[in-house]
Amino acid sequence: MAAEKKENLRNFCIIAHIDHGKSTLADRIIEMTGQVAQRDMEDQLLDSMDLERERGITIKLTPVRMSYTAKDGKEYVFNLIDTPGHVDFTYEVSRSLAACEGAILIVDASQGIEAQTLANTYLALDNNLELLPVINKIDLLSARPDEVAKEIEDVIGLDGSSAPRISAKDGTNVEEVLEQIVKVIPPPVGDDDAPLQALIFDSYYDNYKGVICFVRIVNGTVSAGCKIKTFMSDKVFDVVEVGTFDPHLRPKQTLTSGEVGYIAASIKSIQDTTVGDTITLVDKPAPEPLPGYKKVQPVVFSGIYPLDGSKFNDLKDALLKLKLNDASLTFEPDNSVALGFGFRCGFLGLLHMEIIQQRLEREFDLDIITTAPSVSYKVYKTDKTMVMVNNPSHLPPVSDIEYIEEPIVKASIYSPPDYLGAIMDLCQEKRGVFLDMTYLDASRVRLTYKLPLNEIIYDFFDGLKSRTKGYASFDYELDEYERSDLVKLDMMLNGDICDALSIIVHRDKAYARGRAIGEKLKDVIPRQMFEIPIQACIGGKVIARETVKALRKDVLAKCYGGDITRKKKLLEKQKEGKKKMRRLGTVEVPSEAFMSILKIDTDD
């Protein structure tokens, strides 16, 4: 691409709080640039995973290239990279930001600035992006664009008065957004003649083409036939195809600096490309890699085990494939007395965990057991060493522990003032420490709390939503570790400790939680041939007990006219149901039992 044409390139993403209309605006922009014929438009085109469409959220980044003839008569090329809006996926956002020069910041005209609006704004500013604020949903009756424009000025410090006021839903003023993209967002700077530096910002595995790397060409050019390598791996690959996204893969002769596109090079092993790594040419290598991204640390951990122990390798392959375009997922082999061989996986948050779990089940057709999530604790031992423990069953014996520290987050909660009392109660229950309260305007307050992460990963988010009728939003960042009085709570089934059900919990909450888990297990474990005592204990001392009574009646009724086939089918169905259970010692436990202990209300 010639230098003057680079002037006409705009790389940008859209950032917003969840539900503020990011995907709808993306669809409208794609539609208005004529990229996709209207009849081909499915709602929310960029959310390609079933899961995304179903939940109405964006999880993965999807780039798309468009051309737009502006009012100045020139034709511009837009590369739009969609980004997720949920707090768990901040990391994905930061990856797309690194491929852009600017970002459209959407603010909902009735809800105003929310937790993720702010978090993503700071991320964009950290990446030196030019921000283009947009006020969306002005078609709503409750829209208050003037107040929101003022909020944008007061809270974020951007010029709210020039922000286009649009309705992405019906298309009002979206044209104005396109014009501002041209005016506000700068073109990329890069040198086509310099050695190749291509930043991998995402990738996925294609059964025919191998690994498809999504790249932003920062310097240099690349085309089919080039020999490439990455900085983290010494392996050399021949480029088979390069191209852009329409949003499907569209092959192209060459990618030049400033462009966003993909590279396919028959890379078979998914470990050979790491998101954040830099691709360069073998013949004319760049002296150094691009900065890449700060590696994110997973904050929530849980065990994932195949329901059928022999599927361990299938699970491993599936996790490797997911890891390819979800760099934030971590996993290492683990083994549980109760569940056998599996993996200890690290996630960015509970939603992330749930999504990985569902993708394993749907995309890879695996039956899995996920154990209750845990955070990572610092355990200081009496021998003056410290170990990180994110698996309760790896906690050293009590006698070896001097003390334990748990991760604390700084949480910002945004809400109308009516719910302050309810939110404060919730934070108190969750061992929160109040830090600050700020009125953003008459109708919105920001509360800042210090909260233990292990309280948040249980049911904090659900609790917050239900107590504020869905009005509050929240965001958190890891702050520090603090010493805390934590104990390991074990569950015994028919006298045997089930390591997969153990959790680490604050001593003051152990009794209530042990009792609640026992009650929950009693409900989910079906009656069996014998009575099953369920006991919650701390250090061998039983603190709560429930009983699953022995099965009394499990028999098929009379045989109508000798219809044995029907009987057989009923029994076969019963057998199928049993296969969905895992035998722990002497007890058959349904796979959902492990997660169900998470969804417990211990407020009483």
Binding site: M529, K549, D554, A557, C559, L571
Partner: protein
């Protein structure tokens, strides 16, 4: 030895728990229906010419509700077209409200020698609530007619607010009346039946209460020398239903009429439940099967075990070895290691321990 089952899909009115092929409003079709049933018998007789039968069972519906000529006609045809052994057990189900002297005489002259009376409960209010057409008095009257005959009666457990006393009343009425055989079935509320809404409302006793009533019934009957030969069936020695035992021993049988099932030469097939469909098929010269499964290999073994474990006698170890060429304990060594404690195992027999017979599904599925 094999059995013949004849289904009579007519009744005076439908009981609230009935989930079976029975159509009170269609009794006008009886003439046509039996004409088809006879035609089906003739065709099957030609298809399976070498079978020898030693039981016949008229089930329903209410076989005693239709004109007795249809029953005697069927018996005539059976004797004409099939080999029926001299000492065959020939049973008919009877609703106590429908039996007359004339009917009984016709049945007996046709060679019917076993009668199964649907009493269900000795409580008239309960009978009315279940939409049964008879009273306890009707039952006594029917039993009186059957004096000296080999007859059985059905009792239901798991009825509304049923107590042990209620069950005792029903069982004692049955025993007093001279029945030599008792079937005790737990009511199951099937979706689509009127009683299902009662079930959803929690008006029926729960699993534990039903199990208590069942245990009470078992004790009550065994004390009076009706021993449990199958999970729901009790009889004086020698008065077991041979027709039913044939099912549990994985014997062969031919079923005629709607919803009737057959098992011949390792094939299991079942007729349509819909009278009009059945009639159309038969008139046009076809069978009315809606399902047909060839059973082979391990499935045969699984069926054999599944059926035999329902009974008190369980599995005959020698018969098992003769049929499948391997010792039961060897074939299922793995299952027995984990679940053997629920079974009584001797050199001759393998059976579910009596105390686990009512939770048999959990054990049986391990062998499937």
């Amino acid at each position: 030895m094999a059995g013949i089952y004849v289904h009579v899909p007519f009744c005076k009115s439908k009981c609230t728990y009935c989930d079976f092929a029975s159509y009170p409003k269609e009794v006008g079709k009886a003439e046509l229906y039996f004409a088809c049933l006879y035609k089906e018998m003739k065709a099957r007789a030609a298809q399976y010419p070498d079978m020898i039968f030693d039981t016949v069972y008229f089930g329903g519906g209410t076989p005693s509700f239709v004109d007795e000529k249809y029953i005697t006609g069927a018996m005539r045809l059976i004797r004409e077209k099939f080999y029926l052994s001299d000492d065959a057990e020939i049973t008919i189900e009877i609703n106590p409200g429908t039996l007359t002297e004339k009917k009984l005489a016709a049945y007996k002259s046709a060679g019917i020698n076993r009668f199964s009376l649907g009493l269900q409960s000795a409580d008239d209010a309960m009978l009315a609530r279940l939409n049964r057409i008879h009273t306890l008095q009707d039952y006594y009257a029917a039993a009186k007619l059957l004096e000296g005959e080999n007859f059985s009666a059905d009792a239901l457990i798991g009825l509304f607010d049923q107590t042990e006393k209620d069950v005792e009343n029903t069982l004692s009425a049955i025993i007093e009346s001279g029945a030599s055989h008792v079937s005790v079935y737990a009511l199951k509320a099937e979706e689509g039946t009127p009683i299902f809404s009662n079930y959803l409302n929690g008006d029926l006793p729960d699993e534990d209460a039903v199990a208590d009533l069942y245990e009470f019934a078992v004790k009550y009957l065994e004390k009076r020398e009706y021993y449990r030969y199958e999970v729901s069936n009790f009889a004086k020695r020698g008065r077991e239903s041979r027709h039913n035992l044939n099912y549990w021993r994985r014997g062969e049988y031919l079923g005629f009429g709607v919803a009737a099932s057959s098992h011949v030469a390792n094939r299991r097939f079942t007729n349509t439940e819909i009278i009009d469909d059945y009639v159309k098929c038969i008139i046009s010269g076809h069978y009315a099967e809606i399902s047909s499964d060839e059973i082979s290999g391990d499935e045969i073994t699984a069926e054999y075990v599944m059926l035999a474990l329902r009974t008190a006698e369980g599995i005959d170890a020698h018969d098992f070895k003769a049929r499948f060429g391997v010792d039961f304990t060897e074939r299922y060594a793995d299952v027995l290691r984990r679940h053997g404690r629920y079974l009584d195992i001797t050199d001759d027999r393998i059976r579910i321990k009596p105390e686990y017979l009512y939770v048999q599904n959990s054990i049986i599925i391990e062998f499937m």
